[in-house]
């Protein structure tokens, strides 16, 4: 067991897959010098510039060429720099990557990973801060992964590279320096399994990515007030672990979903609906969502914090929900 940062773990996962499988390669802007955040640091020295490819600032071609390269039997890992920039390649992701297998009647496979550094990162404003995961869950053909811990960032990335479907892989920029234990042994971590990070009996809090850590903080505060919250890290949004969430709600009777993305049409709405439809009789209160207001993200910290859900807000919402 090693201690690694979230960033180092992702890099280690990619390097391990590139050593195992010669068809894996990465492409994106500035990868040779390590990528914007250093996620690729040193990889070009080990694997060369063909397999860690520096590209022009051509998002549509970065993603579109990966579709062609994937259909030809390679496993490209696409670096989008910021999740916001992937919007320059929506056709390539939504109309091409996600649809090729289906519309060609199963002739194509598009095994590619689209890494999109996502989420709020102090004072990055409206075009470098968004959490757009719910958009991708709406697109048949895509897998959507959002790791919250260093170990998950290594093993979910490896599993995403092994996956024969296009995977949108959303790493949170605010987690790069987060440290945690990462097993030396190569283990497999199946996509679609949530993790009950903190078992509890009074309330279920479902979250993912950076917001999962706020949920854990909130649970620790709630424990001091004799509220025993169960915290679930969803890890992947499509497919998502409905069984894990429903089993928890059957136990606690209360569901609070917390995410960084805008609340309107966010993935919390899907979770809330599915739980209501399937576990209505187990619910002691209406499922509740805690997420961002429907406003763009500001630069100034005072205004930026208006869209950031805090641990104290989670505590307050949890207490209100269980009627304490």
């Amino acid at each position: 067991m090693k201690t690694m940062t979230y960033l180092e773990a992702g890099r280690a996962g990619l390097a391990e897959m590139m050593r195992q499988d010669g068809s894996v390669w990465a492409l994106g802007e500035d990868l040779g010098r390590g990528g914007v955040f250093g996620q690729y640091h040193g990889l070009q020295d080990e694997f060369g510039s063909d397999r860690i490819a520096d590209t022009p600032i051509s998002e549509s071609c970065i993603l579109g060429s990966a579709v062609g390269a994937a259909m030809m039997g390679t496993r490209p890992v696409v670096e989008m720099r910021f999740a916001d920039f992937a919007l320059c390649a929506v056709d390539e992701l939504v109309n091409q990557a996600a649809k090729a297998r289906y519309m060609f009647g199963g002739q194509a496979r598009v095994p590619m990973v689209v890494r999109e550094p996502s989420g709020m990162w102090r004072s990055s404003a409206a075009q470098h801060s968004q959490s757009l995961e719910s958009w991708y869950t709406h697109i048949p053909g895509l897998v959507v992964v959002m790791p919250a811990t260093p170990a998950d960032n290594k093993f979910l990335l490896m599993e995403s590279i092994r996956c024969n479907d296009p995977v949108v892989y959303l790493e949170h920029k605010d987690l790069w320096s987060l440290e945690g234990p990462v097993d030396d042994q190569t283990e497999t971590l199946p996509i679609g399994k949530a993790r009950v990070a903190r078992p509890g009996s009074d309330l279920t809090i479902v979250s993912w990515s950076a917001m999962f850590h706020r949920a854990l903080e909130a649970a620790a505060i709630l424990a001091t007030q004799n509220v025993d919250a169960e915290v679930i890290d969803l890890r992947t949004l499509w497919p998502w672990d409905r069984q894990c969430v429903c089993e928890s709600v059957q136990k606690t009777g209360h569901l609070l979903i917390v995410h960084e993305a805008v609340q309107v049409s966010g993935f919390g709405a899907e979770i809330s609906s599915v739980v209501t439809e399937n576990c209505f009789g187990d619910l002691k209160s209406a499922p509740r969502r805690l997420a961002a207001p429907r406003i763009p993200i500001s630069y100034a910290p005072t205004m930026e914090d208006e869209v950031r859900v805090s641990a104290s807000q989670i505590v307050e919402a949890a207490l209100t929900q269980i009627g304490t």
């Binding site: 549509s60 579109g64 060429s65 030809m72 039997g73 009647g105 002739q107 996956c163 679609g192």
Partner: protein, 329 residues
């Protein structure tokens, strides 16, 4: 044309292929008119020389990416026209199992990686396919055919730049029928067009008469050998779409008489004249044409009589992880 070098057998074959494409398109239009084809089709009548002159030079292992007007390219790359017609009708046995229809025809078994419903989207996919070929060290060439409308989309710039900087084995073919859907491309295109734009990125590019199958053939053969040695090239083929944008478009936006006049440059008639000059008889050439018509009529009838796929097939081929069939709750 240099008559002493005229390869009669080759162009007799090319003539046959052009006749087969036209017969296929006419059978498809008939099926559309009879409501057997439910979606839109974009026939390539008038553009057969470009399809045959280019795709007739591709080996089975070479890769082709095509457009929404791609029946001719696909047929010429070696796809089974019966499977293509079944796909147009959305029937069992279609290339894509009825999931794609005309605009998503593909036959990966013959290196045809898909028509595309989005103008210009095939350019980025083509350069990626070539990138994979280069990474794997394979001896293959990618040909990417797009229309004159596509040069005004971003992927034209991004994809050609990409192909050049990585020196990828791609032949870009701009099949220029003069119309971007229903608008004259001249009215929406600044500058001197695809050749000048490609040259500005350092690609070698040339323009040819796209209705002269012999000229297209010679140019393509030469360019494909250069692509292998020197990286990407662009071939601009000037042709004309003798019908509308779709089979149901009467194309009233064209100046009166324009299309009628262009029938005098019909690539099939021109090829026929050349073959006659080279000694083939009218009777022999008519036999070829009639055999093509008869082949495609049979294909049409078998497609008409085939079954639709079961509705449950709508849930297959989506994805392995998160497969909709395993997500029912």
């Amino acid at each position: 044309m240099n008559k002493t070098n005229f390869d009669r057998a080759r162009y007799r074959h090319f003539y046959n292929q052009m006749c087969r494409i036209r017969a296929f398109e006419r059978a498809a239009i008939k099926a559309k008119d009879e409501n057997l084809v439910l979606g839109a089709i974009h026939p390539s009548i008038g553009q057969e020389a470009a399809a045959v002159g280019v795709c007739g030079n591709l080996r089975r292992e070479d890769i082709l990416l095509s457009t929404h007007r791609g029946h001719g390219h696909t047929l010429c790359k070696g796809a089974d026209p019966q499977a293509m017609m079944l796909e147009l009708l959305g029937k069992t046995g279609g290339n894509c199992g009825g999931k794609g229809g005309s605009m998503h025809i593909a036959d990966f078994g013959v290196g045809m990686l898909g028509a595309n419903g989005v103008v210009g989207a095939n350019i980025n996919i083509a350069v990626g396919a070539a990138h994979a070929i280069k990474l794997k060290g394979e001896d293959k060439v990618v040909t990417c055919i797009f229309g004159d409308g596509a040069i005004n989309r971003g992927p034209f710039l991004e994809g050609l730049n990409w192909a050049k900087i990585y020196n990828l084995p791609v032949l870009f073919v701009c099949e220029d029928n003069g119309y971007s859907a229903t608008t004259n491309t001249k009215d929406t295109t600044a500058g001197a067009g695809p050749v000048a734009r490609a040259q500005s990125l350092g690609l070698e590019a040339e323009s040819r008469d796209g209705n002269d199958v012999v000229g297209v053939d010679i140019a393509t053969r030469d360019l494909l050998s250069r692509v292998k040695k020197k990286g990407p090239h662009l071939l601009h083929l000037k042709t004309y779409r003798l019908g509308g944008h779709t089979s149901t478009d009467p194309a009233k936006y064209r100046p009166d008489g324009e299309a009628d006049g262009k029938w005098s440059e019909d690539p099939i008639a021109r090829c026929r004249d050349m073959l006659k000059q080279a000694g083939l008889t009218d009777e022999a050439l008519t036999d070829i044409e009639m055999a093509a018509t008869s082949e495609m009529d049979g294909i049409y009838e078998r497609a008409r009589d085939a079954a639709f796929p079961p509705a449950a097939n709508a849930y297959t081929d989506v994805q392995d992880i998160g497969d909709p069939r395993s997500q029912a709750f």
